[in-house]
Point group: D2
Chain length 395, copies 4
């Protein structure tokens, strides 16, 4: 059995790819300001270079999520140049994220704005993003909205729901054959009283209304306190509606901390539900695993490597669960044995197995140490030292 | 305008009926024990007598929700007797609630139990409850489940979801022409790790799967902290899926306190969304308003009267909102004016209008004072003094 | 009785002064960006001009809280000029807030920083702020810290606690005879894993350790979900340790919304505990009421006037409570009567009494309408149109 | 280093004793009812017998917490008999818990009751409990109160605070030389609006007021969502005011689940702060570790063994942390290295070290398997089958 479990772990690691976001490398902060890092990426070329480092060392991050406004300075016209830049650094462009929140016109919303001209502008930006995605060979259009309201009475919740349905349907119609529309939900921030797509149920209904290629995107930090995220994941899997994840961790709000840094057992349980579903149903769901964190304090590339490492550990632990035994205990109501079956997998130290997997792929056993030894950070910090940085906005 | 607003309030009060639960009159408590009240109801006859008092004094509580196991000692065979007893006290039987949680067999769930024999038993009890509902002329079968699990790994969440869908569909098929199946959600307690129907989205999907006469039941205390309940209400109204409410208030968990005792503005906003939807859509949704509180400390009948009074006040305030003006402010993004439009209605003292409504119906202006003056409580306390009370269970 | 209650309201309004913050007038936002407003204040002179407008129209905002780094460009050397500018606009300088969070050196904290040189720098800045406060005639030094950590293991919580105690004691020693040190607490943001002064208990202990003129500052948005803020206020009053408030409202996190916009009954209960304490103890505690909101969407000056109005309404409602009757009901355990005594005050429409108070002071009855009619906003928007605005930082 | 870490673990396990509660063995439930278990303990003798089994198999549970009303049927007169019974089963009596919540007179509180006669009764019961503690050789009097209120306005929070201070001081005065008064806090349930001792700060102030032998008792389930419990522990350690723990886990409210079943990393961090404090200060705090769970579904004795096992694992992991290295990283602001230092200890599989420790003590390597093989449960289930069980109350 022990040997078979080890094999399961190796196979699980083979299948587990994690997309990293281009916005994980520039300076970010909170509303109280940004603490700047020497060598933080500025241009899209720098971001892709940093991302390429992470993939070179971890071997499991071949794609990079991009934000239209931040990474395609000339919109669609930049697409091929950016794709080429990615290839240069050994990665490909992943999910394309329309940027529907920084411009002043979006003060009262984008797809939910009462003004049809602004909704039109938001749709056009999204349609251009879909074209970019096609041009760079990306299968995912990933949508997050700040839409909502900050004060009771200031928004017509139902009308906004309908505007969202209309806008999403129009965008869905423009998708390529092999593309997916991922619809993210978030219960608060920066809309503080109501958020138009506040929970998985709202994302689900809007996705269904948009069309057959729309899916729910689960950001692990976008939930209420005490919400059971793995149950939501299990339901979405059962409905065939789980599109992917924005991975991160948090204690109070949408803190965008390193995955697994606050509650690793929860992440493990999410990965368990995914692998348990695959065992139970005999087929692996197609899921886009994407990191979405705000690296305000820890060195950005190092934190990205640490995150990927955490994700691999927790995914590998979940691969250790003996699904047949677990299922048997569950059916019989043998609660302690069922629980211990899960907990035992989590208690196991999978780090040796991950090192083994890395060796087998010709990767460094300790990617963080390898990165530090590489001198990359010192080099780019020097190169990037002179240039000015944009002070405002998210990153 | 002021006059028209007053008229709106009178019309709103005419339309606003609140169902009271039979289990609001016996002794209840917490897991730490019950504080007993002299004159607390024991038999179904006593509960219906108490409910009749509330309706006689408030004029807006003509129906009483019942629990199958607690109120129909001989099941279907008790139906006619109970209906007759209700009529005797000037009320009718309202929603019928199957009792799927006290028996030992439900330890690992009812509709979600891995054992098909227990699922069958739970279905049979529900089918009998539907028959009771038909027999007593009730249009609502109201379902709440304790189903879930207390420890990670002990339940197969997806299989339980499917068992729920099957059981609900079978029950739905037995409904009468004019009957509705109300499916309640609750994120925790007494299942502490996962609850099979944890949120409105899960209730929605299961209701849709059950059939066209299934609707979502919103218990105001069954949400996560900070969740925007009125948004959920607005969405359910837009989808035609709001079945009704279990009204109560809470601070931390499912505290089952008096409606409006902790956050009256939230209740007002819920009522506002309902009345705003009616104005916007031109048609009033059919909604079952039901009280579901646990009167552990305050005198039970008095608290029920107080609750009905609170509900009327908050519903009347919501009727004061100028929907046309609000809509105009929302469209133009005039945030302060929109907010003040709502807030102004809440700030208005509607108590004189409610007294006026009561006078116009021949009801006492102050039902609580009238109840205290009636001597009812002293009389039943004496009558009910000798009999033994069941010590265990919810009530 | 009714007449006496009206008199209590007038007296309460006479006593109720609310300080407004200079940072309530420039552009603010969230980490996702700022939505800019025409005429948002830039310089300290502009902020004081806007604040002067609010006081001129409401008559209860004679002081303005300032932030050292934002409002005193030359530190102590700017003090007299700023004080003179305030006088010019009919207001005085209120609480002085050292700015201990924007500089890059504070990445790992200020008073809790492991580096003694940075702690020293933070102390020096605070000592200068105290000197400024003396120079401008302010009685309050108000301290809020971003200090904490974002990841488990990265901070020595106990050592940081001791550094805080040392730094606070040194600052306390520099206070003038009549000055207070207000120590604010906040459970999260921007430190996401642990915050050095996370709750009222920590603020209390550090204040006690600092010296007799240190007090706890309660920001209504700095609590956990479901925390009973009025109980904390009651305890601090009983201990003689309540220094003042940062008033605002929120739904999920530290949303910094308009006071009373989400949960007005909670604000009312806080004001009730204060007035009940005064009645019970026979002496009115000295409390600094200060607004601390982030006016991201609503017009800034209008929102400030709206906030002051809300505060007056809720304070006036609390003045209506019949303390003797309430106390009697509480002693006897007459729960419903006690509750209705409180609730009845909240249900009363105090707007006519507030208009009466304004008339008696020669103030406009509707300060928001008066402001809109004044043309002030149009004028300053034109004047301030050309100048550049700082893009980064909080405001 | 590896070897030294192993030694640290063995030494940590030697020092780690966990007290188990007598009320962990009878039937318990929720307000919705109890699911009964064959062989659940009824009498105090049965509870002590079950507790003796746990200690015999785990070797680290030599004491049993008791509840005065439940375990001393004749009060002080039962003390010697109960102590003898404990000895018979190889254990001793640990913390004595006065039972101040089940009697009807406590409806409006015990130490906070407005009626002085009821406060007196509660004090007398507590004084008797202290005498029992002396008689049975227990060093801990452990106090938890249901006191609070369910509705705004119904309680005078400040007066109740003062009554608490008076009552606690009187009880403190009766303590023996070597005894401690442990004061527990809890933010809600069964008082739903306000709880008289709601958080650690309130417990701290009341303990300080009571006298030098009063300490704060931390129940891990008695916190707000997202509260950083390990920070509270670190502060209490630094203040010399940490008395002990009631250990359990939870997701939403005070769920009283198995320790570590929901968030094991949090428990690990609590244990880390304790061991880090000992390293930093050079002295080990005296801490009473007590389990307080509600074993509603899992077999009671098995869940207790599982809990002890979890506690040992997480305490052992915390013993692996390299404090000198951690401290160095913290001082230098090397955030990733500091975090990885902590996380690495948690990732380590300590189960072999625990088995080694058990072997070295002559204990079974797998106490759960040993218990199942012992036939104890089958035997007592048969013995206890006939007798009637109390249906009401907590257990």
């Amino acid at each position: 059995m022990a040997e078979k479990a080890e094999e399961r772990v190796q196979r699980a690691l083979d299948s587990f790819l994690v997309e990293i976001p281009s916005w994980g490398f520039p300076d970010t902060g909170t509303r109280f300001g940004k603490f700047r890092q020497p060598g933080a990426a500025g241009s899209v070329a720098e971001k892709l270079s940093d991302a390429g480092q992470v993939h070179a060392l971890t071997g499991c991050c071949p794609t990079v999520a991009v934000h239209t406004a931040w990474d395609f300075p000339n919109g669609l016209a930049s697409a091929e140049e950016v794709a080429a830049e990615a290839r240069k650094h050994g990665v490909r462009i992943g999910a394309v994220n329309p940027t529907l929140f920084e411009e002043q016109c979006y003060k009262n919303g984008s797809f939910g704005n009462p003004d049809p001209a602004i909704r039109r502008k938001a749709i056009e930006h999204t349609l251009e993003s879909i074209e970019i995605a096609k041009r760079v060979g990306s299968r995912y259009l990933s949508l997050w909205f700040i839409d909502g309201s900050c004060y009771p009475g200031t928004a017509n919740i139902r009308r906004r729901k309908r505007w969202f349905a209309e806008c999403l349907a129009e965008c869905h119609a423009a998708l390529g054959e092999d593309q997916y529309l991922l619809v993210e939900y978030k219960p608060f921030e920066p809309a503080f009283y109501h958020t138009d797509i506040a929970d998985w149920g709202m994302s689900f209904l809007l996705s269904k209304a948009a069309g057959p290629k729309a899916r729910v995107l689960v950001d692990t930090g976008h939930h209420y306190q005490a919400q059971n995220i793995e149950q939501i994941v299990a339901w979405l899997l059962d409905e065939g509606m789980l599109g992917g994840f924005h991975l991160n961790d948090r204690r109070y709000a949408d803190d965008d901390l390193t995955l697994g840094s606050i509650d690793p057992y929860q992440v493990f349980r999410i990965f368990h539900e995914i692998q348990f579903h695959a065992w139970d149903s005999g087929q692996r769901a197609e899921i886009a695993y994407m990191i979405d964190q705000s690296h305000n304090l820890k060195p950005k590339i190092e934190e990205m490597i640490q995150t990927v490492n955490n994700a691999q550990e927790l995914f590998a632990k979940a691969a250790l669960v003996d699904h047949a035994a677990l299922s048997r205990f569950q059916e019989r109501g043998e609660l302690i044995d069922a629980e211990e079956c899960l907990r035992g997998a989590f208690s196991t130290d999978v780090r040796p197995m991950i090192r083994e997997w890395r060796r087998s792929k010709g990767l460094p056993e300790d990617p963080l140490a390898a990165f530090r030894a590489s001198g990359y950070m010192q080099r780019v910090a020097a190169e990037r030292a002179g240039r000015s940085v944009a002070a405002s906005g998210y990153c």
